[in-house]
Amino acid sequence: MREAAARTEVEDAASIAAAAVPALLEAQGLRLEIGGKRLIDGIDIRIGQGRKTMIMGANGAGKSLLLRLLHGLIVPTAGRMTWRGGPLDKSARRAQAMVFQRPVMLRRSVLANLAFALKVRGLRGPAREARIAEALDKAQLGDLARSPARVLSGGEQQRLALARALACDPELLFLDEPTASLDPASTQAIESLIADASRRGVTVVMVSHDLGQARRLADDIVFLQAGRVAESGPASRVLCSPRSEAAGAWLEGRLFLDGQGAQG
């Protein structure tokens, strides 16, 4: 009884701390309809500055779609988004970066992949060279700098994709299941890069299915079901004592597919 009360107090404190952080990106009434089907249904979400928010949910819940909507890769059918409380303009978009589940590698060397991204972001000359060297060093890809990016292993390609995104110096980093199908060592390397970026103040929004990863990385969790937010809040609270049935069922391994709970 005393333990439960103490846990509630900690959870409440975490909720208050999360709410106190100013919002970097905020979306209200986000909706996406394709072919008459409502895939994202009136989502309100608040991404706190400097926080690591993890979007979780079963397959088909709309996690990757939500990430793409937030990053502006898909235009919503309805809804409103703000950046630091103001309009989400071009400069706000350039303060964001995204890493995809299957890393997109240009048909160039590791070095040229980094150089291209930085050139697009307007970095030239020695400043660019220095940023590339730093990115290669952090991602431990220095020895592979001259290798074609497409011959790297899956883990190395994902490290390069993450290094490329971070080299652009984003304020907000979107990650769509960056460790899916990677071995534990590669997963650890990616998580270490994410944690390092977070320590430097980068806000992270990440889609993941991995509960262990959520426990290791997430500050906040947004749990989706059928294109709606079933539950959101500090990770410590959502993971330990979920309030929604969907999140509870999923955490207990009873929610296999979107909206389908196991019998019994």
Binding site: R68, G72, R93, Q96, A97, M98, V104, R107, V120, V151
Partner: protein, 235 residues
Amino acid sequence: MQTFASVLGDAVALILSGDADLMEIIALSLRVTITAVIAACLIGLPLGAVVGAFRFPGRTLATVLLNSLMGLPPVVVGLVVYLALSASGPLGPLGLLYTPTAMVIAQTILVTPIVAALTRQVIEDLDREYSEQFRSLGVGPLTRIGALLWDARYSLLTVALAGFGRAVAEVGAVIIVGGNINHVTRVMTTTIALETSKGNLELALALGVVLLVIAVLVNAAVMGLRASAARAAYA
């Protein structure tokens, strides 16, 4: 009646002798063809890339048009270029009719749709792969086209090769606008047609052999380059 073997033997001897007329014809053929392919690539590559990478009203129509123009009848192109360059035509004052330049223009018109249509397909496929990453990075339209063309460079070599094949084997259009004038506009294909009609089969066959050898060498070079690029995962 000469046997095929004896004619072929005479043709090979003619090639090996380094006959000046033969060399002049081969050189002009290559000059006209390569110039036309370069011009067609300069127009067709960016045109195909724009149609392949961007969504705009009329894009489907542009695609249908490019694909249809791949099968342009050479004699019709020859006739149109002839009318444009003839003394009474809009470009008559330039005095280009019956010059190698007229032949380059005709070949460029024939090859450009081939290069553009094939480029569109290559770039559309690559853009499908790169699209989200480019939008995430905030890549502008010019950089996007440049990056797509550069990353598809090995596939586009095959596209240029298809254009080269069409241009080097072309007869109908170049004979109309070039006139097949000895030492001025006589190229391999027009010479083969002329010498065959005259019964001078050695020269015709010698040129045929050279045409085949050029086609095989160019194909082999491009395929070799593509294979090594694929091994290095750049293709």
